[in-house]
Symmetry: C2
């Protein structure tokens, strides 16, 4: 007879293993942890999942995640409403905010155009962006999609869509990361860094 975990434990392991980056071994370790963990933390996690799913929705303006109607950034009156930064995912906003170099609004696409994966522009949060831009008041759109084939293609597609509205469209710079070694930079990054060189 092949030895198996008790059913309720096997069940917990099975669900943990559906999480991204969690293989069967890690799922097992997490399950044991959740069995031995304090009541507060383990059941807190169990309660937090349905609660977050029920409460979190998309901001009606920018598509960012929020507990209310609008997200904290769209509601913030200190933000510069003449600039919109377009990102792929909600978590990209966090990265941008950590840089403390941007004070405009955001627009989240929730993905990229990817013909290979069957995602066209109509599946992205683009119509809402165009409506925002047509309402006027926006002077610049900063494309901060990732520096991947899909990210670049999406940025170019949007730029073509937006330019007829006579709004400035810019792309964040690509090059050697700050603190990065030339020696370890790949060719594509180095090529971009050379293309984007500035006068000293």
């Amino acid at each position: 007879m092949q030895y198996r975990y008790p059913e309720s434990l096997a069940n917990l392991i099975k669900y943990l293993a559906t999480l991204p980056g969690i293989g069967p071994k890690t799922a097992q370790r997490l399950a044991f942890h959740l069995l031995n963990e304090s009541e507060e933390n383990a059941l807190g996690l169990a309660r937090a999942i349905p609660e977050a799913r029920a409460k979190v929705r998309r901001c009606l303006v920018c598509g960012n995640l929020t507990d209310g109607r609008l997200c904290a950034i769209c509601e913030d009156i200190d933000r510069d409403r003449s600039v919109i930064c377009v990102v792929e995912q909600t978590r990209d906003i966090f990265a941008m905010e950590r840089s403390r170099s941007y004070n405009g609004l955001y627009h989240i696409l929730h993905g990229t155009i990817s013909p290979l994966e069957g995602r066209g522009p109509e599946q992205l949060n683009i119509a809402a962006l165009m409506n925002r831009l047509r309402e006027g008041g926006v002077k610049e759109v900063v494309m901060a999609t990732n520096s991947t084939v899909e990210g670049e293609a999406t940025a170019l597609y949007l730029a073509r869509l937006i330019k007829p509205l006579e709004i400035r469209v810019t792309r964040i710079a690509h090059g050697i990361p700050v603190g990065g070694d030339l020696e370890y930079a790949d060719e594509a990054t180095l090529a971009q860094a050379l293309c984007g060189r500035k006068e000293l």
Copy 2:
């Protein structure tokens, strides 16, 4: 103003980050996954946690995890009841069973003696082991605690405790892993492999 995630999402991230090996970045990624995941998987996980905690308990004989009174191994009548293999953790049983080389019973200590971390023998599942042995019928106890300082110390401690009962106490062999390169073996393993060499 520093940008923050909506409260219910931040809450979910906080609980996920309490899991072992899950840092803030991974917790964030898992939380987003749980938001976008199918209802069945996400809420299944939420339900599986309290269910496993409520149902899973320790086998009354060996300390293994079970949904019932006894674990599947203690209940299995095909098992050799004259040998008990002593392991540190429940998951060690899985490793042993995968080897398909053992058909006896188990005893789970739920830890090791570790004076540095303030764990003495009285915190381990040792009294139950001694009761099982005193009941008679057991001819051999195989020490399969880990090959760490604590694991070795615990094995030696138990061997001294068990020997007066005139039961054979053995220790699993340590040496070069099967398929392992001598070149990459550490000194301690190599020393153990030499000590334990056998006639060809």
